[in-house]
Symmetry: C2
Subunit: 219 residues, 2 copies
Amino acid sequence: MPDSNKPVPTVTPPKAVISRMSLYLRQLEREIAEGNETISSTRLGGLLGVTDSQVRKDIGWFGTFGHRGVGYRCRELADGIRQNLGTARQWPVALVGCGNLGQALLGYGGFTRRGFKVRVAFDRNPALVGKLIQGIPILDFSRFSEIVQTEQIELAMLAVPADQAEATAAEIARSGVSGILNFAPTRLNLPETVAVSNVDLTIELEQLAFAVVRNRKKG
Amino acid sequence: MPDSNKPVPTVTPPKAVISRMSLYLRQLEREIAEGNETISSTRLGGLLGVTDSQVRKDIGWFGTFGHRGVGYRCRELADGIRQNLGTARQWPVALVGCGNLGQALLGYGGFTRRGFKVRVAFDRNPALVGKLIQGIPILDFSRFSEIVQTEQIELAMLAVPADQAEATAAEIARSGVSGILNFAPTRLNLPETVAVSNVDLTIELEQLAFAVVRNRKKG
DNA sequence: CGTTGTGAACTTATTCACAGCT
DNA sequence: AGCTGTGAATAAGTTCACAACG
């Protein structure tokens, strides 16, 4: 073994690496489903529009998984990625806000398959409270803090209107939830004990519009 | 990968710049609504978690809008950004796939306010075809190409299951649509005449999980 | 052989710092 | 005095290229 005396302080992979790792993981799951034992960085990257060296560098952040002359064993690498992403276990999730978007999120099976289990949903609208959507009960948001304890909720998906997002997020944070996936088009200003990811549909559409305009100019 | 050895004289702002421009635009709209005439790069950045110099550099890609000693006039800058993003006009949009997520997208008012007008929706499920959701008619997907012509559709939001995404996207591309906002967890491989943006909910959740785990390690 | 892991080179993005305008 | 616009400095991210190894 060459010198393993590397300092390696607080090496945190960049966000971009993490999202590519998710991409790799998904492809690996497909390869496994198709019965492929191994995959090379060249093939994995080719399928996802990423260079082979990028694939190897990215994977390097999470450890040493490859086998020279062979490639990566799909199962081994998939397990390693899940381990590092923190999704080798199940995450109990709460949904806050059961309007159109919220209800769609309840119906989206993709989460469960990747380790995220929506346990309970909340709203303030009495017309919704008490209903069962996709088998998940909608409770009054006033009970949020209590249920977070009993159900051990760690993540919340926030799908309330923009003008309520900031205040609702503050309350969620106070209840001890560790992460919020924010669908409202608003910057949440929270203590950094709470991690926040944003999904902003309008920004994506505007990026698309811009790309189209640029495309036309050169075409 | 094919040749791309052009010394391209036309500078194109990076994607990251574009999404921050969207962010600035939204904040500017709020400032206007609150009656503020001008805003400085420091304040604008502070509200959005971006440095002042980053704000100025970003804006610089789109032109010269500031007034020394004053800041940016909100209306002027907002107009300039819309002009550059290509959202100063209305974009006619089609929705493809009217399941849970698709229907939620139809109900999401945020698009319309930013210049994206969903004109028509498509599905292959006969149980859905003919219905009117949020005032928007659901048509059979076989009519897609025809309607794209008559309604002058330029953008499509793709919200079909993963296993249909690639084929459906190919058909959309063939109909002359210029951009696709893809909600399916699949890489679309299309001719580069069609711009693609991806919204991948699972990736976002995994990023969140990772951030939470990292947060806990240092906390 | 084929394919990884990785330093070094290169490219892109961000921050600094300040001249210059109002 | 206040605040932008921007070149120069720094940092971050990507690709290259090749030794090392099953």
